[in-house]
């Protein structure tokens, strides 16, 4: 065994390019990922605002639409094709470049090595490569906006046969769709590189004394997420390559015989669109957990810090994350209940799906157990963590409806589904990102974010999110289909017009409120109050370093870890907590 003090440390990098652009420092790369996700989330949100506007004012001319999309909105009125392309880009940007990028690649890169006492990730150059591949993937995706025919119409799931047949399937289904697939394939490669790095780092780079069962739950979240990424993105990569082959190589993997599209009989046979659904959802369902697990870990930590109590049932929390990750790979069929699946398979998928409720309930009850009887400090980070638990429960309970084949037959492709997955995957993960931003901002920048602004932002966003997505469930129960560009055409949806107006106004309000967060973030970066080394009196290792941490983290003296990550409420003089490297060996 080599002496760990002999570890190579980063020489302080010289030059702007090496330091901030082509950096191999995990902290710089973490910030790069975060900024990419920040840009993406505002782009994705703007697209959704335009869609919501169009849904309730479909006949009103807007010069902005005409200016941005001369072909998609020729007289200032959005065509259904433009609406679908905005929806596709909104979904793809949000799922891949926000919900996958910020919690795992952003915060994980910055804080995983710090929390386990490592000098960097295991493969720093691979880490840099994986960021630049992600950025390239993002640029390729955005270039679809400017391609001939515009952005693709296939939704973030890109179901064949229409996604496999080329430009005859509609504008944007030619070059735009090709670019979409190439972008996703690049994203798969980047995510695989990232997953290998995260797993190797957790398994090999922990400081002395940091056993797996002493890792903060955030690290467990990133670890399990990396395992899921390693499996899921590998399969999506194959699916993407096959879809590209169908489009460019003339193969028929996803194309059955006798297809007629745009009055043309296609010369394909033997393939099956269902094959894509299997491959896609084998990735697609675990992707939900890729988005939410890092948030679960973070919320556990934040609830513990601001309740001044240890996490209730630490081991159960860690095992529950592993169980969720495992079960996540066995339930992809619940996205395909109406695809003509045998009822026996449907029951099996349904039972496995509902079984995920067990570890999810363990987590929820343990979060409540953690704050029970604690001395709550309602900081903005804490508020967002509590908000996470709230929307996780609201979004999770509607999952119980969708997990039952009989009910799903009715709810499938209605706004019920839109409400459900925005709550559980979108809002919950974003609340995790907000909580993490407020919690770790002092460590990253050395300054505090504004608490009053943060609290206004939280309450408005919390109410806004519920105001947007709860009414969608009712619209869905009333039979409102999703992905329609214009509801006013249908008599049976007339009564829902006022509901959609309410949703749109809530969405525009919530979107504008996000500017407050943006202001808080950049203003505090320059002008916020100076932060101490450990402003929250937290126990994990990153708070033992100065704020912001030096380029070489702990340098040649990694801390010796002596205890678990949540030693709060200790009866002793002066302070009520012990950091992981403090005190006597447990």
């Amino acid at each position: 065994m080599e002496n760990p003090t002999a570890a190579k440390v980063h020489a302080p990098p010289g030059g702007f390019l090496r330091r901030y652009v082509f950096s191999t420092d995990h902290k710089v790369i973490g910030i790069q990922y975060y900024l990419l996700a920040l840009f993406s989330v505002f782009l994705g949100m703007t697209l959704s605002a335009l869609m919501r506007y169009h849904l309730v004012y479909p006949g009103e001319k807007q010069h902005l639409f005409q200016l941005l999309w001369p072909n998609g909105a020729p007289d200032g009125i959005m065509t259904p094709e433009l609406y679908l392309s905005l929806m596709t880009m909104h979904g793809t940007i949000m799922v891949f470049f926000v919900l996958t990028t910020a919690p795992q690649s952003g915060f994980g890169n910055y804080f995983l090595p710090l929390q386990i006492g490592a000098p960097d990730m295991a493969f720093p150059v691979l880490n840099m490569l994986s960021f630049w591949t992600t950025l390239l993937s993002f640029l390729v995706l955005c270039s679809a906006f400017f391609a001939d025919g515009g952005a693709p119409l296939g939704g973030w799931t890109a179901y064949p046969p229409l996604s496999a047949t080329g430009a005859i399937a509609g504008p944007g289904m030619g070059t735009g769709m090709d670019l979409w697939i190439i972008s996703i394939a690049l994203f798969c490669v980047a995510s695989l590189m990232g997953a290998i790095n995260f797993l190797t780092t957790v398994l090999e780079m922990r400081a002395k004394g940091m056993s797996l069962m002493r890792m903060p739950l955030t690290c467990w979240g990133w670890f399990v997420t990396a395992v899921i990424s390693l499996f899921a993105f590998a399969v999506l990569l194959t699916a993407g390559i096959l879809l590209l082959l169908d489009r460019l190589g003339g193969t028929s993997f996803f194309l059955p015989a006798g297809l007629v599209i745009s009055d043309r009989v296609l010369d394909h046979s033997g393939g099956s669109p269902l094959l894509w659904q299997h491959l896609f959802w084998f990735f697609g369902h675990p992707e939900v957990y890729i988005a939410i697990l890092p948030g679960m870990g973070l919320v556990s930590t934040v609830l513990s810090v601001f309740s001044r109590k240890p996490v209730f049932g630490y081991k159960a929390m860690a095992y529950a994350m592993v169980a969720i990750g495992l079960l996540g790979f066995l339930v992809w069929g619940h996205h395909m209940f109406i695809s003509g699946m045998s009822p026996y398979s449907a029951i099996a998928f349904s039972v496995l799906t509902l079984a995920i409720g067990v570890p999810s309930a363990i987590k929820t009850f343990n979060w409540l157990g953690t704050i029970w009887g604690g001395q709550l400090r309602l900081t903005t980070a804490m508020l967002f963590a509590l908000g996470f638990v709230s929307v996780f429960v609201s979004g999770g309970l509607t999952g119980l409806f969708l997990g039952q084949p009989a009910l799903d037959l009715y709810f499938h492709d209605t706004y019920f589904v839109v409400g459900h997955f925005h709550m559980i995957m979108g809002v919950a993960s974003i609340f995790g990102i907000f909580a993490a931003t407020f919690y770790w901002f002092p460590k990253v920048t050395g300054r505090m974010m504004s608490e009053p602004l943060g609290k206004i932002h939280f309450y408005c966003t919390f109410l806004g999110a519920y105001a947007i997505f709860i009414p969608m469930h009712f619209a869905g129960i009333a039979g409102n289909p999703r992905r329609y560009a214009d509801f006013t055409q249908f008599d049976f949806l007339k009564d829902l017009a006022s509901v959609h107006k309410f949703i749109t106004h809530a969405a525009l309000f919530t979107a504008v409120i996000q500017l407050l967060f943006l202001w808080n973030l950049f203003w505090s970066w320059r002008r916020g109050a100076k932060a101490r080394e450990n402003p929250w009196n937290a126990t994990t290792l990153e708070w033992a370093l100065p704020s912001p941490p030096p380029a070489h983290n702990f340098g040649i003296n990694p801390p010796l870890v002596k205890r678990g990550p949540y030693d709060y409420s200790l009866p002793q003089g002066g302070k009520d907590f012990l950091m992981q490297h403090e005190g006597e060996e447990e």
Partner: protein
């Protein structure tokens, strides 16, 4: 980052360095990529009852058996290279890796020969074939093509490592890591050979 694992108990329970572990994880993800393709092949084959089984014992199966033998032998020389490097015998290592690369390229040459034979004589292409079962060619060329890409990439990778070993730049762990990759590519063929060739023998 050249750093040994620091475990709570002293030595690492896996007794594995950072680089081999990284390669193991890559192998796991690549195995999933190939699995998805094999599942696709199985799915297409089962959902098309009149799937062709055109490979005659001679020459197809004999030819592919020779390819299999070549690839397996290359794994053997690779194992010898890893052992030689562990014992500090650099020249022996380079020689064994050169043999491995030669057999890998031999495999690719035989494979390409088979491909062109199928295309020119058998009229089997990526999109069509005499039985009008377009997915036969698509799955065949897709699976063997992805594997061939891996063999070619592996040959380049091994050449770089061998050159580094010759110049004293790389150590035993680097050779071991490249060996892991090579054995994996070999293992994938051990699934492709029975599923694509042996199960398609002409009846």
């Amino acid at each position: 980052m050249e750093r040994e694992a620091t475990w709570e108990g002293g030595g690492s329970p896996f007794a594995i360095g950072v680089k081999p572990l990284g390669m193991w994880l890559f192998v796991v993800s690549d195995a999933l990529t190939f699995s998805a393709l094999l599942v696709t092949y199985t799915y297409c084959r089962l959902s098309n009852p009149d799937w062709p089984t055109p490979f005659h014992f001679s020459p197809s199966i004999l030819f592919s058996t020779a390819m299999t033998f070549l690839l397996l032998s290359s794994s053997f020389t690779m194992a010898l290279a890893v052992r030689a490097m562990k014992n500090g015998r650099r020249r022996q290592t380079v020689r064994m890796m050169a043999a491995t690369i030669a057999m890998g390229l031999g495999f690719v040459a035989l494979h390409l020969n088979e491909w062109f034979h199928l295309m020119r004589v058998g009229n089997i292409t990526l999109t069509d074939n005499p039985w009008h079962q377009p997915l036969f060619g698509a799955t065949f060329f897709g699976l063997t093509g992805l594997h061939m890409v891996h063999v070619c990439a592996g040959s380049i990778y091994l050449a770089i490592v061998a050159a580094g070993v010759a110049r004293g730049k790389f150590g035993a762990e680097d050779v071991e890591t490249s060996g892991l990759y090579w054995h994996f590519v070999d293992l994938v063929w051990m699934f492709i050979f029975p599923m694509v060739y042996l199960m398609s023998v002409a009846r």
